[in-house]
């Protein structure tokens, strides 16, 4: 495996993820994780580990954090979010920048405070402590940032925030690894809830940040009036059948790599497959990618096991004024009952150990598709899925998809008929101008 070392600390080049150095923990010395495995700390030169916060000074300085943690979070109504970027002016950008400058540390402080209240045995885990320190240092940099009064100040903020977005892409796999290792130390449900709120909050922060960055770019490019179909400029118009086919192609390729020579099931559409809807492309493609990959993987395993021909995957799309509903119905043998009960949990489940071993192989970036790319430009977020090693089953596709689906007011339901097949229902709320969801929801 080719290893590239980037000499600059803040690399603005987008490195293909398959070529990035494998990272392990960034703690300074080898530590023993709870399972007795030696985990070596190899520091990435491009990313120095944040200095340790483990000191008594940290305890007494926590007052600063508590100040922010005690502030209420100011939700942004989705309507405001959607239509803020319609007519851009300097003041609007500066106003948005100050909002980001204050809101991000507040939201992070809430999550840091959550972590501080988890049992010591959990946060002492090297992965979790890395995440904690990353959060704390990000919080500090944002907190100390002076008030923005000009577009130049805004540029400085944008650079800081871009860097933070990059560095935080590793949070997801680290947290998942940390949770799997510490699953026995705490009530699983409470742990699941903690991760759920951590990831939800993370989505909200990233979406707000990306929105601000996009607006800054638009203003720079002179694109001040935006009456296009993009909602908040972060939501794109997607075509249901097309996006399903794209994700299916990709998922199919991944599965074919593992099950050599096995074809992928045919996709049959029914219903309103021509529908166009607005959603964050990377989020939607991630969910779809996971769902389809599960379906194809199950179909391929079943064919290998029983020799029966592949049954097609039926995709039903239903468009109503308030919701868009997808149903993916396969005949790939269903989900075994010991797995089905913990399907949505990060911490529980018979495969959690297996998942953990696989995670350590993952280059420490895009556990979630498209996060790296979408920061710099709106290119297809599927390239990261392609570059993820194809035999890597992280086992967290469904719980993660659930976080995304529910964040946007939808839901995912899986109905398994063991020995027969699975039906996955994906409901998403529509983000049109008159949408009730838009009126009543905030991020």
């Amino acid at each position: 495996m080719i290893v590239l070392t980037s000499k600059t600390r803040h690399s603005s080049r987008v490195l293909p993820t398959c070529l990035t150095r494998r990272t392990a923990l960034s703690s300074e010395s080898p530590t023993t994780s709870l399972f007795g495995k030696k985990v070596f700390g190899r520091r990435r030169n491009s990313d120095k580990a944040p200095p340790s916060t483990v000191s008594s000074r940290h305890f007494y300085q926590n007052e600063a954090l508590m100040g922010y943690a005690n502030r209420p979070i100011r939700p942004v109504s989705l309507q405001q979010f959607a239509f803020y970027g319609r007519k851009l002016t300097d003041e609007k950008i500066i106003h948005s920048a100050n909002f980001v400058r204050q809101e991000l540390p507040t939201r992070m402080a809430h999550r840091i405070h959550d972590m501080q209240r988890l049992p010591y045995s959990i946060i002492r885990n090297p992965h979790m402590s890395h995440v904690y320190e990353l959060y704390y240092h990000s919080f500090n940099s944002l907190r100390k940032f002076p008030k923005i009064r000009s577009l130049d100040d805004n540029d400085k903020l944008c650079n800081l925030v871009k860097d933070l977005l990059l560095r935080h892409t590793e949070v997801v796999p680290r947290v998942v690894m940390g949770v799997i290792e510490s699953a026995e130390l705490m009530d699983s449900n409470r742990l699941d809830r903690f991760i759920y709120s951590l990831l939800s909050s993370r989505i909200s922060r990233r979406v707000l940040t990306e929105q601000h960055l996009t607006m800054t770019n638009s203003l720079k490019e002179g694109n001040v009036t935006n009456t296009g179909e993009n909602v908040g400029q972060v939501f794109l118009q997607l075509h249901a059948a097309d996006v399903v086919r794209q994700c299916a192609d990709l998922a199919g390729r991944l599965v074919s790599d593992v099950h050599r020579g096995c074809a992928t099931p045919e996709i049959i559409f029914e219903g309103d497959s021509d529908t166009k809807f607005a959603f964050i492309e990377s989020h939607f493609k991630y969910m779809l990618g996971e769902i389809l990959r599960n379906a194809f993987e199950a179909a391929a395993s079943k064919t290998e096991r029983t020799g029966e021909p592949l049954k097609p995957l039926l995709v039903t799309v239903c468009n109503t004024p308030h919701q868009l509903i997808f149903r993916f119905s396969d005949r790939a043998g269903g989900i075994p009952s010991d797995v089905v009960q913990d399907l949505w949990s990060f911490a529980k489940g018979p495969r959690s150990l297996l998942r953990h071993e696989k995670l350590e192989q993952l280059p420490f970036f895009d556990a979630v598709a498209g996060e790296r790319e979408s920061i710099n430009k709106r290119m297809s977020s599927l390239s990261s899925l392609t570059s993820r090693p194809s035999d890597l089953f992280l086992g967290m596709g469904l719980p993660m998809s659930k976080v995304y689906a529910e964040f946007w007011g939808g839901k995912i339901v899986v109905k398994s008929m063991e020995g027969f097949g699975c039906d996955v229902f994906l409901h998403i709320s529509k983000l049109g101008i008159e949408s009730a969801f838009v009126e009543n929801t905030s991020i």
Binding site: G271, D272, S273, D274, T275, T316, C318, N319, T320, P321, Q323, I325, R327, R331, G334, S337, V413, K415, M417, E418, G419, F420, G421, D423, F425
Partner: protein, 442 residues
């Protein structure tokens, strides 16, 4: 000796002490006379027109048996005697066992009914049900003081079975009556309490009737040579779900032809070869109720009568045509998939009926709502929610609901450890998943 059954007096005299205007001494004299004459009382001499055995202390029976908890029957329990004919001594053992179980169920039901608000018990429907339960307890218990010691096993069983049959018959049409009574008392009891009461009541009823009917059938099959090797009591050991679905579908298609002029169809795409051992009545009821919903929804959606019809974007034909030209061809069939699960089977009914709104979904498992408008309230109760046609020979001839079909189906499925779940796509259709715990013949 006939006692008149007068509602008002029944309330006062529910323990059976005083039923007529005759003074107590005379009643006592009457019973004494009977015992003096030494006439053996058999259960069959008493019809339910003579509700009370004066010498039975019903309160004592209720308090004794209410403390005993019934054990839920499993399919293995039902099949444990093997194929009929079953020797009489074993039958009588079963008889004695289920007598205990049934009496304790009935006793607990009486106590639950007594815990309802007083005003509800004055409703004639509920009062009727209540007295049925009291009568049934007396009947099943019988007058043990007159039982001779050396009654032959088969005679004992025969007597008991006759009593059971009467009781089962009495309660066959009880659900519509109870439903009507509860519906009329809506203002005196909260929905949640009503739902809880009905849920418990109907679930217990499922178990009690199961035990009773099974014993009756076992007895019939053992004594009259009616057995055919396939049925063990009420368990069909060679039940084909696909055949059952098809026959229910045919019947319901006839009904909807009468009502709407349309014949919906089913298409069984998997599982035609699956054979199970299960109580056929239960499965028939479940399939009937669910398929009724599927058919009705499909018809209403495709004739534009339901609210979800407006969301059929992308359909080539609009809603105003296609009804009278080739009625069967234009209605999409209900897709039925039957699959083998590790501990039984799963059946999925997938329709294109337009789906169920989210806020309805949470209510459909309760007992208070039906989305069907019935003009004639009384008639509706009679026609609907009757036992499956194979049992009574009559059957529901309407497609609408008391609103009890779904929760009752779930009670049946639950009894042996199964389940029913619904997942809906509003604007398109609904998937119903039935899971049954049973043994398969494969």
């Amino acid at each position: 000796m006939r006692y008149s059954v007068c509602p008002r007096r029944q309330l006062l005299t529910e323990t059976g002490a005083m039923v007529s205007r005759r003074p107590a001494s005379q009643i006592y004299k009457v019973t004494c006379m009977k015992s003096v004459l030494g006439r053996r009382r058999s259960y069959s001499k008493y019809s339910l027109d003579e509700p009370f055995f004066p010498s039975i202390d019903i309160e004592k029976i209720i308090s004794t048996y209410a403390q005993h908890h019934t054990k839920r029957l499993s399919l293995e329990d039902l099949l444990r005697f093997g194929c009929p004919p079953i020797p009489a001594d074993q039958l009588v053992l079963n008889a004695r066992h289920i007598k205990q179980e049934i009496l304790s169920s009935l006793a607990r039901r009486v106590i639950a009914l007594r815990n309802l608000p007083y005003i509800m018990m004055l409703n004639p429907n509920i009062s009727q049900i209540y007295h049925k339960y009291l009568n049934s307890i007396s009947f099943v218990h019988g007058d043990e003081s007159f039982k001779p010691e050396n009654m032959a096993a088969d005679e004992e069983n025969r007597e008991f079975t006759k009593a059971l049959e009467k009781v089962v018959d009495e309660h066959t049409d009880a659900i519509p009556v109870l439903a009507k009574g509860v519906a009329e008392s809506r203002e005196y009891i909260s929905s949640a309490m009503a739902d809880r009461f009905l849920d418990e009541h109907l679930r217990v009823r499922v178990g009690t009737r199961l035990a009773a009917k099974h014993h009756i059938m076992l007895t019939k099959q053992s004594t009259s040579g009616l057995q055919n090797g396939r049925y063990v009591g009420i368990v069909d050991t060679r039940l084909r779900p696909d055949e059952m679905v098809q026959s229910v579908a045919d019947l319901l298609a006839d009904v909807s032809d009468l009502q709407y002029g349309l014949r919906p169809t089913v298409k069984i795409d998997t599982g035609s070869d699956i054979e199970i051992e299960y109580v056929s009545e239960h499965l028939e009821y479940i399939i009937t109720e669910l398929l009724k919903n599927c058919f009705r929804a499909t018809i209403e959606h495709f004739t534009g009568q339901s609210s979800s019809s407006h969301y059929r974007v992308g359909e080539k034909s609009n809603s105003s045509q296609g009804i009278f030209g080739g009625p069967t061809a234009s209605l999409p069939p209900v897709l039925v998939s039957i699959s083998r699960a590790p501990t039984g089977i799963q059946i999925r009914l997938r329709d294109r009926g337009g789906g169920i709104k989210d806020h309805h979904l949470s209510k459909i498992w309760g007992y208070s709502e039906s989305t069907f408008e019935e003009d004639d309230f009384d008639d509706g109760f009679k026609r609907l929610n009757t036992p499956p046609p194979s049992v009574t020979g009559t059957g529901g001839s309407s497609m609408g609901g008391l609103g009890y079909g779904l929760p009752l189906s779930r009670a049946y499925a639950d009894y042996f450890g199964g389940n029913i779940e619904l997942e809906s796509i509003y604007g398109w259709g609904t998937d119903a998943y039935i899971t049954l715990q049973c043994a398969r013949n494969d």
